[in-house]
Symmetry: C2
Subunit: 356 residues, 2 copies
Amino acid sequence: MWELVEEDLESIAIGAGILGTGGGGNPYLGFLRAREAVRRVGKVTVIDPTEVVDQHQIVVSGGMGSPVVSYEKLPQGDEEANAVRALESHLGVRFDAIAPFEMGGGNSMAPLVVSAALDIPVVDGDGMGRAFPELQMITYLIYGGSAAPAALADERGNQVVLSEVTDAKWLERIARSVTIEMGGHAGLAGSPMDGAHCRRTIIPNTLRLAQRIGEAVLEARRNHWDPGAAVVSVTGGRRHLRGKVVDVERKTTKGFARGHLILEGIGDDAGRKIRIEFQNENLVVLEDGEPQVVVPDLITLVSTDRGEPLTTEMIRYGFRADVLAIPCPDLLKTPEALAVVGPRAFGYDVDFIPIS
Amino acid sequence: MWELVEEDLESIAIGAGILGTGGGGNPYLGFLRAREAVRRVGKVTVIDPTEVVDQHQIVVSGGMGSPVVSYEKLPQGDEEANAVRALESHLGVRFDAIAPFEMGGGNSMAPLVVSAALDIPVVDGDGMGRAFPELQMITYLIYGGSAAPAALADERGNQVVLSEVTDAKWLERIARSVTIEMGGHAGLAGSPMDGAHCRRTIIPNTLRLAQRIGEAVLEARRNHWDPGAAVVSVTGGRRHLRGKVVDVERKTTKGFARGHLILEGIGDDAGRKIRIEFQNENLVVLEDGEPQVVVPDLITLVSTDRGEPLTTEMIRYGFRADVLAIPCPDLLKTPEALAVVGPRAFGYDVDFIPIS
């Protein structure tokens, strides 16, 4: 158990932005919300997955929606907590702890806001070890958790409980359409589980990992070291390319930011050219038409000068970026997981070849 | 209290089709479902609104979705009952009786199917006295009922509870988007209320009215009388035009059948031409650009030969029809009701001028 305070948030936001692989919502907006919430209560209690006891009632929390929307429709701050309250009220229980949905961008911060609002601890870990675009892609569900009930809430007071769903893909479909109707962003609470299931299926210690990544970036900034190299020293993997963005195509359809980037190498990488395809998150790096890095491994872009995580909705022509290829957690590499989060689940007819 | 048996269904289906003013779902499909259900249990108990006691817990039941969809995606029969079960489970209550949502087309039959499935009586009446396209247009809500919670269910096992909504229009918006995601048709249970509220806000005895209308049509068929005139003799109002459909424009957008019809008068009405605009239901009759009959008064088309109700999704070029103008119930004529179901609520900048 440790106590997370305001000063921890900057590094966590940077690290979670990097683990967000381009998605997961805006890390800066998430940071502002979390800072406000943590300031108000002083601290948030974080428990290690090993400290979760079998009888604990755990709820998975985060935000749902296209990150593009959150720029103009700022989350009001209590959507996620209201979703948890709606689920508690539906089930007639009080949850003992919050398990983050994804450790990426703003969605790494939302559980901290909920923790502060409801005064229950956050478990250090998440269901993706990164960000993914769809709800069925969380390890809690991949490894047998119940897709229902789940609850969505907006900032107006609307609350929707998905009390029964045929499977996790139907959870995603129905929750997505409700989110769109709620204006493109909603708080989500779901996958209620006991402590035993949480311990078995959570990707552990990703909050600490985000913090360590962020601290490495901040240290590199202070010392004028190479921030991309600092990230890789913590996460493993490699810098795949240092380059300049020469083309961005992006559209927001059905609640997702979809599109691709083209980067041309600079410095040692001059002459190379890669294409990155994304759906909220970066999914595949192609070079000469061949996949070089493939989901669920992490493809993340940071600015070359400051190691700032670059999300798919903020990236623009001319940005200079390190394209980092980071190995995904082992829980995403099993056949069960690859069926849900592997390249074929995103429509790419290639096998997953781990980068490490 | 009376007992509704299989033999009553044919006339109710015809009458409800006529009260459906072109919408409310396919009366024939609804009839087949209800016949199956009533046959199985032998009878359905119908109670008069005056027999509802204050402490009764009443639920409003029906189907939601575009009638066009129900032709290809046949309701499976238990969507509506599952929606009631989902709401019972959410609230932790057992309902004492079912109040129909609308007395139109297939939706007049759905509550009978639910009644048979759950073995609780149906109250003789409904929340519209006809059919309307949107959920907030039921008298139970217009006159102060609570828009939440409500539940939707599909045939696959998905169940969604709208546990809190900002107002009845948000109920409609969110429920509509869930219905579309469920494939365009869903069972709906909502507006839970006590018996006192039901007695005060239900449009009474519309099931009996539908039956009387249907019996009049069947009698006219047997005796080769004029079926349109037989309907008007029961409902009041008038035959506005006998004509031939010369143009139909219809598209299914956002879960609704929207469009217009043009009819040219025949016989005594030769030389006249009217335009009927609809959104699932017929909303306004225009002649020489002037509104002649306006929602919430009923505009309903029946075939000239057999008095068959013609729905907006089945009507085609060449059909010969009596356009009937029927006065709406008094509960739809108050300022509160007209704000929700009057012509301006549908985008027509005209006042409601009752036909009678």
